[in-house]
Symmetry: D2
Subunit: 306 residues, 4 copies
């Protein structure tokens, strides 16, 4: 005979009645098989999940979270999921199913993601990126659920500062008058350059799908230059020249990325919201420079078609 | 003669016109002298600051941020500031003064903070806490500024799980019938216990002051037990017993902390908002359990006086 | 015509002639396909590699490091390597081949590793571990190379403190005289328990192979209890009881792990050296407790057969 | 009457007899008052301490570690200690005094340290550095102790790559023939530049004192340029020019730092050992470049006077 174990979580809390916004688990790591166009990729995803907790209930049934994560993930190892955000949406849906007392579920996940990239085709190798995804689930009054997904990623590239470059040009012209020669007009001038780390999330309207790969491409397209693991001597100088011919503040990275989205994603709906945060690990300072913005595609279209 | 250096930041951005929400610096570290009731304490504060950037301006004048931080901080070394959040408010004010194009400024700061604590007075020593503060500044149409401050902190203590304890009691009673004896009713039963890390922020209405020390006390009061650096053999067992006689889920820590605030801060106004996040570094899992909530004191008062 | 680019690395350093012990790259991330008995596992490995630099040479050819890592790794995606340490040895060998001026190469790698584990078979799921590996290569006077590999890993489990348990027993016996009844002799008493993080490396003599899985099993066997992602109510109490019936200091984890190796690995040679570091993330303190040791299997055998 | 609590730590370990190299605590944070030439500075130091454990003893008396750390530190708040390494030596001495069974003690500490620095005197502000210190204590057969101290620190500065600069010069000369003009010989050419993080430890012979400040100055003197919190437009370009006129591999930073020590510290003894690790957070790669070396001042003197 099984001892009837007391359900402490379902007890009424002694401290008083207060609905809590979110109770869940964080830092749980799972393998996840994702179906890419040409092959199945297995990533190691780190999840955070939570649901709200009604006032009359002492605790959230947290073992259900680990259980459902395991089941969703195990299923992907047999039937790969289409994306990290699709996995998050499945998890959000299961959270609401198994926490019958909950009305709102949140899921976020990140995963290291390796892409084969190179300055030249013969020196391509795996480069490190981050996939990011979120999902929320809301229980409707009719018993159904509203699910929302976000998809994004983080890419590390390089920026060269346009301001130090201009000042250096003025200072160098005093010392090297030849710099004033018209033939030197486009000569690339020294500046400080550094790692730029940019993170983007697209909050997707229902039914809309965006490839994380395309978001990562958009980030790299907005930095002064992507960076690469393998750079032979001439490649290295080429990346340096590319970056200095395309100098950018973090403000420029942010604006160029945002204002380039309408052209890059012409079919996405106006109500899609984009969140971006870009960080410059300044070579001339011990601190970082950071810029952030959030906008709908509609707002960005209004800015670019004006 | 000084060469007139080109003001690249003030140029019109080529990528298009888009106001950006926040541009600033992060991870800049400064010493800060704070006037405590009995003495001046110098903390090492880590700041993040930012202002919005108008559409017509390519870049934010970031050197002003480092300059004003240095000036505010240097001033505190002569005239100690009253608190970390007061320093944040000064910085927010200066941000709006020196970035004349900006309408909104945000500042956040954290600092390691050592408090002398002990289970018994003769074994008190310094324990590690975190001070947290934020400030925002908004330029009004009349040219004035609205400043808002937040104050808080983080304290690490201990929780013992009430659920595993109940289940273990049931399982042990099968094996040890004496446990059913009435004299054993309050006998503390084994459970899993672990570090609990709780972070609180009070968003202060204008003119209201709250001591971070009192917030740290409130956090420790809501955990199963505070923890200590020096514990002799008997102290150690006492802390273990204290925690097991006061078992708590993170949900309990969160509710007890929230619902205890009206009594602990009776004179604070209803509109003050509290944000809390509490994390249990589970001893029986490799992942963490997390709970979070946000409420006004008014909402909490309604719950506790009902 | 290709411009003959100046080989700055091969120049004589201006600062003076000094052989440097190690120059290399760190934090480079690569996918790696490992052949496990039953299937191929792809891990994301983080490498650090380095070689010595002769006094007459200004710089190390670092692009070769990224190139050879890519080639070794690409090859494993076609022909899976047998282990992370085998990959490290291949990399060490290539480092000496491609840095003809170097006499010593070092490689270390770590990779998140997920194993399917559970307290009961029906609730098994992936648990997070770390694989660790190292390799060194030394060029012999006859032009050959001596390669050494190390293999190991890190596992997080749980410990319950035997000391607080004994003191609590004494203190509780005063209050609950029934605890003195002979039938209560083996009753599990409350103590503090916490995450234990233990890291082991086996420095392998040539030709010797050890499965990282077996090292991870050895670590978990020495903790008070392994921990699990999915624990239903009764499982949770069972893990708590298991841990309290097997209380351990970090000193015990370290000694039990070391002294259990001769029986667990009876065929490994005496000269194999083991390095262990075990950390207790104390629930009753804000700081950690750490113990470390290094011994040969021969020394451990002398201790266990005495 | 006090219950005689069982001394579990002093029991004979059941797992078998094995002396352990080190048992202690890590991550314990303490305020420490240090007497600088002109004023008392209070730093927040993070300590790790350990002693060996004899085979016949189950556990180390860890509460003594926290106790003695508190006492040593409390004493410095009344009578400031001369340095972080002096505090470490005091702690090592106390470890051997209070762990009568131990023969060897190790202590290490780190502390954030703020120094007022600037490119120009009128824009000086606090910059972030790290102080590092270690001490070991060995019990002699005559009952005395041998204490050894190490002192050092970490400074973040900037390097510009000499190789990419040379290659870029060759590539640019094709496109801009004026670059070949003799007047342009010393014209600074673009390269990649980045944060350089260099860590140095001096293992001091008995009786020898070295100021950590001088070690931090030596580090900054070996980088392409120090970096600063406040840089107005022209300062920024000046730092960029300084760095590009002093391009350095990490190998150069390491050699220049090492080979500069004899002139910088002429009176220090030959047997003093220096350990250095320097890291370049490459702007053109997602990974870091690292170089490390260890040498005695005597070896370095032989290299510089040859």
């Amino acid at each position: 005979v099984v001892v009837p174990v007391k359900d402490v979580h379902a007890m009424v809390p002694r401290s008083g009645l207060l609905t809590l916004r979110s109770v869940g688990i964080a830092g749980i790591v799972k393998p996840l098989a994702i179906q890419r166009p040409e092959r199945v990729v297995t990533v190691t995803a780190r999840f955070q999940v939570g649901v709200d907790l009604p006032a009359q209930r002492k605790g959230s049934d947290l073992s259900r979270n680990a259980e459902l994560l395991a089941e969703v993930v195990d299923e992907t190892l047999v039937h790969p999921v289409e994306s990290l955000e699709a996995a998050c949406a499945l998890v959000a849906e299961e959270l609401l199913k198994r926490h019958s007392y909950a009305t709102h579920a949140t899921v976020s996940a990140s995963a290291e993601y390796l892409r084969r990239r190179g300055l030249v085709p013969e020196r391509r190798s795996y480069e490190e990126y981050l996939l990011l995804a979120e999902a929320t689930g809301d229980r409707r009054l009719d018993g159904g659920m509203d699910l929302h997904r976000s998809v994004g990623g983080e890419a590390v590239g390089m920026t060269a500062c346009p301001c130090a470059m201009e000042t250096a040009r003025e200072m160098l012209t005093k010392e090297f008058p030849l710099l004033d020669d018209p033939s030197m007009a486009s000569f690339p001038i020294v500046s400080h350059n550094q790692r730029n780390r940019t993170r983007v999330l697209f909050d997707l309207p229902p039914g809309i799908v965006v490839e994380a790969e395309e978001i990562l491409d958009a980030i790299e397209g907005a930095q002064s230059s992507p960076t690469y693991a393998i750079l032979k001597r001439r490649d290295e100088a080429q990346v340096v020249l590319n970056a200095h011919r395309n100098p950018k503040f973090v403000e420029d990275v942010l604006r160029d990325l945002l204002l380039g989205l309408p052209a890059r994603f012409p079919t996405l709906p106006d109500e899609l919201t984009v969140r971006i945060r870009t960080t410059s690990e300044e070579s001339i300072h011990k601190y970082d420079v950071v810029a952030a913005h959030e906008a709908t595609l509609g707002e960005l279209r209004a800015r670019t078609t004006a």
